[in-house]
Symmetry: C2
């Protein structure tokens, strides 16, 4: 609960509805549910062609990602001052942006910023636009900290010494690739990087490893190999914290991996309980390693 | 033709059969055919469970990759002093290596070297073992230079200015990833790296891009995007020169790419004529860029 201001009529931000900008996948619904359990009101903005879950149980609206002026007005009408984005978003086509007078200025500045950047640039631009409009962007660690990876094993299984070597190797690789705006996740077998995630997403990358093992291109016996996932250096964690969940664990089990390692405080667990239960049943560890980016160049 | 020695009875290496260690795919057969056109005799060692073409037209043997002593004797019996490896090889399981007395020493030293390395380490170990036995490893540029990419456009189509930007971006990315022993190839769209090759191979990576475009994760209209492929820094080009061919071009066309860029002198063209014809018909450029690694850190 946020501290209350001195004036009795002032409503603290933490009591106002959190505006949840919902993209694709089940994460937005999981966050809405976590907020409900915490007693925090929510106003869902389900983004057209992205959000694919039912938000009928919450105050909500549907809007195109480009309908900046309309979303802004709805947030004001609902008393929202804090915004959180969750779920998957495709890179908007510029032609999707509704160029009314209110959005023209925003859209032009965003276009200029986006023109030469990668995904990180898209995300930071969204953040700058939203904050320029007087809203505050909040991250999962602030409003649903129980959904963020903690340090150490998540469940009873621990990484072996070999798996710890693979984890270190994966962390070093992702940090090296950070300037390239790729490689939020890698799969490492015996200190060899066998898959790098770029635009395809983590699950698709893990599924590729299952195929690589089947074809003999990965010929270590299962279980072996680790999925390592952490935010890129400079990634805007309030907006785009990397996510793993039971879907990730199931894919990792199918690929014969030994486990999943994520940065504590830097990766969102979409469905922590389900995920840990499934991982334990499949014999996979889920391990939160201590953030080490500040120690590295 | 190699220069002849002063003694008339001496046989120059270039007149002796080239020992072609043939792995998977059509490349070994294409090289054998190119050698035949040049009048160079060849002795093919078709590796069990790898070589999948018919080498009945050439003097040949079949052998497991681990049958080091047997292969060595066959090369001596056939008067081979030069060896070339071509085609795809899976990482051998140590249990596949025939541990007779002759190979035990070689195998142990290879195992020690391989234990912590990536693919580059495997390849260099093979090279060191072979050369330790008194043979000389030759590369494609030495015996079939017409199969190596040259500088400039291969055909009538040239990269656009945007494609040249993507090519530069891809080269920089691959060089940055070199210490990770991954990323011989990337696909770049509008200066964004959308796919990185690790263990899956170039064609599989390109096919992923077709799927990414279909799903909207790449939303630039086709044709756009470039496959960039070059050797990793320090890669042993005599043994493992990266390859593109008509299969690569067909995959790139299906993925809606604008073209393919390869390092001149550093990438083997498995079937140059077919490849260029198919690329032109599909509207793709194939461009050989000047090696620039010496100018970069």
């Amino acid at each position: 609960m946020a501290p209350r201001g001195a004036l009795p009529q002032a409503v603290a931000d933490g009591d106002r509805p959190l505006a949840l900008i919902a993209g694709g996948g089940k994460l937005p619904a999981a966050i809405a549910e976590a907020l409900r359990r915490r007693g925090r009101p929510v106003f869902v903005v389900a983004i057209e062609e992205e959000a694919d879950r039912d938000f009928a149980a919450y105050p909500h609206m549907r809007a195109s990602i480009g309908a900046v002026a309309r979303i802004r007005q709805a947030l004001l009408d609902n008393g929202c001052t804090e915004i959180m984005m969750a779920g998957t978003f495709r890179r908007p086509r510029f032609s999707d942006i509704e160029l009314d007078l209110g959005t023209l200025r925003l859209a032009l500045s965003a276009i200029l910023r986006l023109r030469f950047g990668g995904d990180d640039a898209v995300v930071s631009s969204v953040a700058r636009i939203v904050e320029g409009e007087g809203f505050r962007i909040v991250g999962p660690d602030e409003v649903v900290p129980e959904m963020v990876a903690s340090e150490g094993p998540h469940g009873r299984l621990h990484p072996s010494r070999q798996a710890r070597d693979d984890i270190e190797c994966g962390i070093a690789a992702i940090m090296r690739m950070a300037p390239l705006d790729i490689g939020q996740a890698v799969v490492v077998h015996d200190r060899r990087i066998v898959a790098v995630e770029a635009a395809e997403g983590t699950t698709a990358m893990i599924e590729r490893c299952a195929a690589l093992r089947k074809s003999g291109r990965i010929n270590a016996p299962a279980p072996s190999g680790v999925l390592v996932k952490l935010p890129k250096a400079g990634q805007e964690l309030r907006i785009e914290m990397p996510v793993v969940g039971s879907e990730t664990v199931r894919a990792a089990a199918r690929a014969g991996l030994a486990g999943i390692a994520v940065e504590a405080g830097g990766v969102l667990l979409a469905d922590r309980e389900d995920m840990c239960r499934i991982a334990e049943a499949a014999g996979l560890f889920v391990f939160g390693f201590r953030p080490s980016r500040q120690r590295l160049p």
